[in-house]
């Protein structure tokens, strides 16, 4: 801990960085086993940018998000070298500071709008509660602001007196977004915000989020398994596998100059909308059990390029350009290329 503090003094975070996360590790110590959910993650999010965090179930996306809010539930153990949001060192915060920090500096939208709203309060009250928690204001004033927030997300202000069950799924998610944005956070984490919604409603909600983000100059972390949404919304992409970021770069880096075999596998698994007869090429096997991770590269057992060395050695992150990182030992051989062709 003392060492951590010393490091914190040494490292200065540039002004234009909205969120800085260094070496995040999360494990859940259970009776019989220890689940290693997140195993060393670094994120640097610049102000006004959107980072997409993609990966499959169990990759550690949501745990990473919860760690940033310091909301990982018991028996989770979070270790982290540094977490700075908007210039504030989150790891040094006491409980009281954290309560102020959550929602005002860093807000989160959860996946399921059906369960993240309280069924016994009107939506107006719930938004007003969030406002009053962070701003000294009267009830009436807060309720007025809540109505404005509803208008902002495309719901008539008159519906502020209604209860969540009177809203459809898409509308509920809009209310959740209104609550998250009520205190004008600098950084917004959206955890699969449209997974529970229909495609046309998803398109509505995504378009609205993009508009609000741009208007407010907000930074965003978009967690999703849908690479289509990433392409639509994000400036940068981090692909996660078994609790690690295995490829990180700008949207173009990752989508057009794919480097990691897992990222390639994800793209190959998706039906090609331009060529319907092309057979899908799934990734064989399953994600490894996080309580029993393989010794070397966690993806090696499913990787068609894997060598004996991959199964022994944990791959080091390597920069292939100024913005593009890949963690794959196969690139030790300078001639190594994956099959997916590069685009511009």
């Amino acid at each position: 801990m003392a060492e951590d503090k010393k490091k914190a003094v040494e490292e200065k975070i540039p002004e234009d960085v909205a969120l800085y996360l260094k070496n995040l590790r999360v494990k859940f110590v259970l009776e019989k086993e220890t689940v290693y959910a997140v195993n060393g993650i670094d994120i640097t999010l610049k102000k006004g940018k959107t980072l997409g965090l993609a990966g499959e179930t169990g990759a550690g996306k949501t745990t990473t998000a919860l760690s940033m809010l310091r909301l990982v539930p018991y028996p989770g153990k979070v270790e982290c070298d540094r977490l700075v949001v908007d210039g504030k060192d989150v790891l040094k915060m006491k409980q009281k500071d954290l309560e102020k920090f959550r929602g005002a500096d860093l807000a989160m939208i959860f996946q399921d709008p059906m369960t993240s709203l309280n069924p016994v309060f009107t939506v107006g009250q719930q938004i007003a509660d969030a406002i009053m928690l962070h701003n000294p204001t009267t009830k009436e004033q807060a309720f007025k602001s809540a109505q404005q927030m509803l208008e902002l997300v495309g719901i008539p202000a008159a519906r502020a007196v209604e209860y969540p069950h009177q809203f459809s799924g898409g509308m509920k998610q809009r209310v959740v977004i209104a609550i998250a944005l009520a205190c004008n956070p600098g950084v917004l984490i959206a955890d699969e915000p449209t997974t529970a919604l229909d495609v046309t409603i998803q398109a509505q909600v995504i378009a609205m989020m993009k508009k609000l983000r741009d208007e407010r100059g907000m930074s965003m972390i978009m967690i999703t398994h849908d690479l289509g949404i990433i392409a639509d919304v994000c400036d940068e992409v981090a692909i996660m596998y078994a609790g690690k970021i295995i490829e990180y770069g700008t949207l173009r880096d990752v989508f057009n100059h794919t480097k990691h075999p897992y990222t390639e596998g994800l793209f190959n698994s998706l039906p090609n909308i331009h060529n319907r007869d092309e057979r899908l090429k799934p990734i064989p096997g399953l994600m490894p059990d996080p309580s029993n991770l393989p010794k070397g590269c966690a993806f090696a057992p499913r990787c068609r390029y894997a060598t004996a060395a991959c199964k022994e050695k944990v791959p080091e992150p390597r920069m292939v350009s100024d913005t593009h990182m890949v963690a794959c030992s196969a690139y030790d051989d300078p001639a190594f290329r994956i099959e997916r062709p590069e685009k511009d």
Binding site: T200, I201, A203, A207, F255, L266, R276, L280
Partner: protein
């Protein structure tokens, strides 16, 4: 023309609710050729699942005819229907709730075989179970595992094995991959494709994922509020969508590619209530082309090109 395995005519399913009649499926007709796949797409509440269940009579249709291999099955009694269900099976969306948690893979499959007397004799049943497991790509060592010990992809494989146990000719796949991760989704889709080729199966593939249905189906029916609004061969539907709703659906697909300034048609509003719908185009409220005429009469499904059907009053002029 090839032989139709299934033909549905004017299928209706209304549910009684305190607020009036809910038109879940409202006058739907289609047919499927042997060995082909019909994709039914639409959003939650459009009646696609109810349609699938009516065909198997898991839900009794309010009216309409369903011909399976030329026989109207809506008139069949319980005993005859039970026999027929060997030929018609269903794979459910959620592999987590459609399996009995207290049954191992072996028990689940054995029960199906025993009840329907597909094979008799202990040894024969055991062999058939192993054969089914191999067909769907489940390792033999898993034979005595319970559903909770398995991941979603493997559970869905059990669901498929259970459907195949009775040697069906026709399977309703109700969102079989929507609960699964992409890499597993691709494994299951390939498996269903291989089985179709090997066993000559016909499918109804119900989904909300247009990219998946584009890959998987020969023909697509787009449903909106209980009715088919457009029906065409897959390539034709994607190349030349005519109904404004289909156009909006296609435009809303998130495409995993870097596209500069993609133009999307974003629909305003939400699906309206299926309870006591008025005699008007059900999509009119959300349609950017709607005019007074659209609100006077519900447009019928008409053939505008060979094999391409559209239900839109303004389709000719647009």
């Amino acid at each position: 023309m090839a032989e139709n395995i299934l033909e549905v005519r004017n299928l209706k399913k209304y549910f009684k609710t305190p607020r009036g009649m809910l038109h879940a499926v409202d006058d739907v007709s289609f047919s499927i050729e042997k060995g082909h796949t019909l994709g039914i797409v639409g959003e939650s509440g459009c009646g696609k699942t109810t349609t699938g269940r009516c065909i198997l009579r898991l839900v009794e249709p309010t009216s309409g005819e369903i011909f399976f291999e030329g026989r109207d099955i809506t008139k069949l009694g319980r005993g005859e229907m039970k026999k027929l269900r060997k030929d018609m099976q269903i794979i459910f969306q959620d592999p987590f709730s459609s399996l009995d948690p207290r049954y191992t893979i072996n028990q689940t499959l054995t029960e199906t075989l025993k009840i329907n007397k597909i094979v008799t004799g202990k040894k024969a049943i055991e062999n058939r179970v192993l054969e089914l497991m191999e067909t769907v790509g489940l390792a033999e060592r898993l034979i005595n595992t319970y559903p909770h010990e398995l991941d979603g992809g493997r559970r869905q494989r059990i669901g498929i094995a259970r459907a195949l146990a009775l040697n069906p000719k026709f399977i309703v796949c109700d969102e079989p991959v929507s609960a699964l991760d992409v890499s597993i989704q691709a494994q299951i889709l390939n498996l269903l494709e291989d089985l179709q080729e090997k066993l000559g199966l016909s499918y109804i593939f119900i989904t909300h994922d247009l990219a998946v249905v584009n890959h998987f189906a020969d023909e697509i029916a787009v449903m909106y509020l209980g009715q088919i609004v457009e029906k065409a061969p897959t390539q034709e539907l994607f190349d030349n969508p005519m109904h404004p709703y289909t156009q909006a659906l296609l435009s809303a697909i998130p495409i995993p590619e870097v596209i500069e300034n993609r133009q999307q048609t974003i629909l305003s509003g939400e699906i309206s209530s299926p309870i006591n719908p008025k005699d008007e185009c059900r999509f009119a409220k959300r349609c950017r082309f709607s005019c007074d005429g659209c609100r006077e009469k519900n447009p019928p499904l008409v053939e505008v090109k060979p094999g391409h059907f559209v239900a839109c009053g303004r389709c000719g002029e647009l």
